[in-house]
Symmetry: C2
Subunit: 140 residues, 2 copies
Amino acid sequence: MSPTHTQVTTPPADLDPCGREDHPDCGIRDVLDRIGDKWSVLVIVELASGPRRFRELQRAIDGISQRMLTLTVRRLERDGLILRTVYPTVPAQVDYRLTDTGADLTHLVKALADWSLAHRTVIAKARHQYDRIHPDHDIR
Amino acid sequence: MSPTHTQVTTPPADLDPCGREDHPDCGIRDVLDRIGDKWSVLVIVELASGPRRFRELQRAIDGISQRMLTLTVRRLERDGLILRTVYPTVPAQVDYRLTDTGADLTHLVKALADWSLAHRTVIAKARHQYDRIHPDHDIR
DNA sequence: CGGCATCCGAAACGATACTG
DNA sequence: CAGTATCGTTTCGGATGCCG
C-alpha cells in the first residue's frame, strides 16, 4: 500500500492575501512569524540533513516537548515547508522532510544560524557589558 | 553638551557563554530568539534605512505598542545591535541607529524579508489548501 | 517627547494521561 | 511510535495612567 501524505499537487499561482503589492510589511508578517518561532528554525535545520521521524526529531531538538513538536511540524506542513508522510505500518511510522520551498528556505535559515554562531561571543559580551552598566533591569 | 549614549567602547573578544564549540545549538538559541521576535526584525528593517527617533519607529512599525517598542529596542541595545542616543534637550530626544554588528545582520534580515515577500503567495496558497483538506484544526 | 509602572486578559508552553 | 486531550502555569502583550 502506498503511503498517505498531504502534498499539494501543483497550485496555480495567484491569490494575493493582502491586495497591496506596494506594502512590504503585508504578507511578510505571517511568514516571519513562522520563522520567528524558535522551534520552527530548529526543525528546519534538523530536516536539512535529511528526512526524520517524529521521535528522531524530538531527540535531536533537545528541550522540545512532544506537544510543541507536534504543533510546530503541523504549522510547517500547513505552510507547505515540510512534507509529512504516514506509512500504514504497526506501530505507525511517520517521516518528515523538507519540500522544495522548505529546502530553499533552509539556505537562509542556515545563514542565520551561521551568523548567530559567528557573533554569539560578541553579543554575549555586549549583554554582560549592558548588565554591568544597568545593574537592575527587567529585560528578558 | 555632548549626547549621552551607551555604546561599548571595544570589548576584547573572549568569553564563551557555553563552553562547547562543538554544539551548534548552544549560543544560537539566544541570538535566534532575538531575531525570532517579530518586532525585532521590523525594527531592524526600519533602522536599515537610517536613524529613527522613538515616535518615528512607532509610527513606521504599524501595530506596535509603545510598551513593546520600548522592550524591543532595549533588548536590541543590550545585544549591541542598535545604539541608543539621548540628546539632553527639552523635551527629550532619542534616536536609534544600527551598530556595525546590527548593520551586518541587516543583510540577512532583508534576505529573509525578500524571501517572505517572494513566497508569501505560495505559502498562502498552501495554507488554504491545507485548511480545505483539514477543515477543523486548531493550528494558529 | 520618551519613557516607566501597573493591571489584566490572552496566548504560549510544559507535564501528564490516554489512544490507535 | 506518533500522536490527541486536558490542565495548570508562565509569559506575552495591550491599555492605562503618570512623570521628567
